[in-house]
Symmetry: none
C-alpha cells in the first residue's frame, strides 16, 4: 500500500484521490461524504477509488494516514533539521525544544485545518481505529517525548514528576488547544493559543532553581 510499491502513475493517482478525499471528508464529515463527490473532484471513476482503497472506511483511514505522514514530515522538517534530539537539546535547551515542537504542531494544523477535522472525524467514527491521526497519541512519538522529559529531569532542568503523566498532559494540552483553537480561525490564532498554553505547561515543569537562575 505504500507509494513506493506502486508505479509512479498509480502513486500519482493515489495522491490525487487522497488530496480530494481529505478536503471532502474534512468539509462534510465522514458520514456525510459521498464517495462519488470525491471521485468527481479527483476526475476518476468511483470504481477506481474502490479499486484502490477497498471501501469508504479504508479510504478514510488512508486519508488519515496521509495526514499523519504530512504532519510527521512537517514536524521533522521544522524541528529536526536532520539533527537528532540530543544535539537539539545541546543547541537550544529542552524548554526551547518543547516550545518548538508545540509550535510546529500548531503551525501544521493552522495551515491544514482539514487535518484537524480528519483527526476529529476519526475519533468520532472509528473510536478504536488502529492508527490515531495525531502524532502525539502514537507510541513511538510518546516514547521520544518521554525520554526528552526524563533527561531534562535528570539534568535538573525540570522538576521530577511522573514522566508518563507529563507527556499525557503535553499531548492532551496540544490536542485540546488544536481542536478548540481551530474553530476560532483568525490568522495565527491557533499558534498563539498553543504557545500560550505550552508556556504555562513549561512553567509548571521547570525546576524552581531554573526559574530563579533566569531571574
Amino acid at each position: 500500500m505504500l507509494d513506493e510499491e506502486l508505479t509512479p502513475k498509480a502513486a500519482k493517482k493515489r495522491q490525487i484521490i487522497l488530496r480530494h478525499a481529505l478536503s471532502v471528508f474534512a468539509k462534510e464529515g465522514f458520514g456525510d461524504t459521498d464517495v462519488q463527490i470525491i471521485a468527481d473532484l479527483a476526475g476518476v471513476g468511483k470504481g477506481t477509488i474502490y479499486r484502490h482503497f477497498g471501501n469508504k472506511k479504508q479510504l478514510f483511514l488512508a486519508t488519515a494516514q496521509h495526514c499523519l505522514q504530512q504532519l510527521a514530515d512537517f514536524i521533522r522538517q521544522q524541528v529536526g533539521k536532520s539533527k537528532n534530539t540530543t544535539d537539539l537539546i545541546q543547541e537550544m535547551g529542552t524548554i526551547e525544544l518543547v516550545r518548538q515542537i508545540a509550535r510546529a504542531y500548531a503551525q501544521f494544523y493552522e495551515r491544514h485545518p482539514e487535518a484537524v477535522e480528519i483527526m476529529i472525524q476519526e475519533r468520532a467514527a472509528f473510536r478504536d481505529a488502529l492508527v490515531p491521526s495525531h502524532l502525539l497519541h502514537r507510541a513511538e512519538r510518546r516514547a521520544e517525548f518521554d525520554r526528552l522529559l526524563s533527561e531534562a529531569m535528570d539534568r535538573g532542568e525540570f522538576r521530577r514528576v511522573d514522566v508518563t503523566h507529563a507527556t499525557n498532559a503535553f499531548a492532551d494540552l496540544v490536542y485540546g488547544s488544536v481542536v478548540n483553537g481551530c474553530l476560532e480561525g483568525g490568522r495565527g490564532q491557533l499558534v498563539e493559543r498553543v504557545q500560550q498554553a505550552v508556556e504555562i505547561f513549561l512553567n509548571g515543569l521547570v525546576a524552581p532553581e531554573e526559574l530563579s537562575r533566569k531571574k
Copy 2:
C-alpha cells in the same frame, strides 16, 4: 420545549427518550444511530420522537443539552455546594478550588463516558453547533473562570498572565485529557490523568513567591 412547560407526564416521556437517545448516540455515533432503535428502547412510537423533537439533529442537540445540564448540576453539587465562588476561595484557596473543579469534571466524565462520546459526536457532526456540549467552552462558565484567575492574580497568588489564554489552556487541557483519557478505561484512570495534568498547569500559574512560601 423546556420541561417546565410540559405536563409531568410529557416531561417524564421526554426524559425517557433522552436517556435512551444518549446511550444509543454514544454507542453508535450520530450517523450510525437509527432513530427507530431509540424509539424501541424508550417504548414509544417513532412518530412520538419526531413530534417531541422535530428531527434527528434536534433530538441529538437536545441530548447534548441534556448532558450539559447533568454536567452542570454535577459540577454545582460537587464544587459549589450552594456557596458562591468568593466564599469558596476564602475557604480553600484558589489552587484547591481549581483542583476541585477539574476533579469534578473528570469524575463526571468518568461516570458518564457516554457524555464524552456525545461531546465528540457533536463536534464531529455539528461543527458549528450553537451549544457546545462542554461547559468550559461556554461563555458564562469561561467568564466565571476568568474572574477566578483574575482575582488570584490580583491577590498575587498567581503569576500575571493573559487571563483568556490561561482559561483557554485550562479548558483545553481538561478537554484533551478527558477525550484522550476516557479510552484507556480503567477505574480512576480519567480522574488521575486530569488531576496530574492540572497539577502541572497549576504549578505553571502560581507565583514564585507562593512556591517559595510553600517550601
Copy 3:
C-alpha cells in the same frame, strides 16, 4: 409470517406483492430481477417490500413458499376432494389415483408456468434452500406416497420393489416432465407429456397378474 397473523390489510398487501414478485421472478429470473420493478408493479414503495420481506432473497423464498401453498391447495382440491387416501383408493384404485395425482401436478404447472420457473430458479440460486418448491420433494408428501405404494404392493396390485426408489422415480419423472415439458408450450402439452410418462411408470409397477387380469 403467516397471513393469519397479519391484519387483513397487511395480508392483502402481502398477497399483491407476492403476486407480482412471482410474475417478475419467473420472467426475469432471480438474478435479473430488480426489486424496484416488483415494487412499481405492486404499486408500493420499495421500502415497503423490504419492510415486509427483509431482503431480496427472503422475498424470493416467500414467493416460492407461496407457489408451494397454491400447488398444495390445488392438489388437495383436485385429488383429495376432502376424502382421505384410503377412501380414494377404494373408490378408484391405486393406479387411477396415481394417474390423478400426476395429472393434478401437470395441470397446475400448465396453468402456472411461472411456478415452474420459480422451482428452477430456486434450485439454481438456492441450491440448499430449506424449502424445496416442489411438493414431491418434501418429506411429508413423499411419506404419503410411500404409503400409497406400500399398500398397493401389500395388496398385490404392484410388484414388490423398494418403495423409496419407486417414489424417487415417480417424483423425478414428474419433475423432469414438468421442467422439460413446460418449454414446449402448446395447450395440453405438459399434461399430455406427464400422463404418457406416468403411464409407462405405472406399467412398470403393476403386478403381472394384474396385467393379465386386465386382458
Copy 4:
C-alpha cells in the same frame, strides 16, 4: 471457435479457461460468478477471456458446450465402444443397452457434479438457450433413441407405444433423477437412483410376452 481452428497454444489456453469457468460457474451460479475469479484461477488476464469468448454469457455457453462434449465423449466411450447401435443391440439386447445408456449418464454426472449445476444454471439463466446442456434434450440424440425404441417395438421386445412419448419419459426420468439425485451426494447414490428408476421404466415398456418368456 472450434479448437481445431486454433493454434495448439491457443487451444490449450481455451481449455484451461473453460476448466476453471466450469468449476466457478458450478460453484457460484451464473449470476454470482465474477469473471475476474475465473481469469485469476486460469492465470490469464480478464481481457484474454473477453478476447476469446466475447462476453460472460458466451463464456458460459461455451462452458456448457464443453460439458456436453465431455458428456458425449464419455457416453460414447462407455456405451459405444466404437460399435454402432445395431451391433450393440445384437450383442446385449435393447433392454441392457438402455440400462447401460442410463448408467453411463448417471456415472458421468456422479463424477462431474459441476456438470449438473451447469445444466441447471443454463436452464435458469438462458431459458431459451440454443444449446441445451443435456444430451438427451438434443435432437440428434433423441432421434437415435427414438430409433432404438422403434426397432425394439418392431421386434416385439417392447410394447407398442408412442415413441416420442417414451423417449420423453426416458429423458425426463434421467434428467429428474440426476438433478434431484446429485444433491443427496453419497457415493454411488446417483447411479443407484437412476438405475432403479430406469428399471421401472423398462418394466413399463417391455412387452408382456417378453416378461412371460423371462419367467
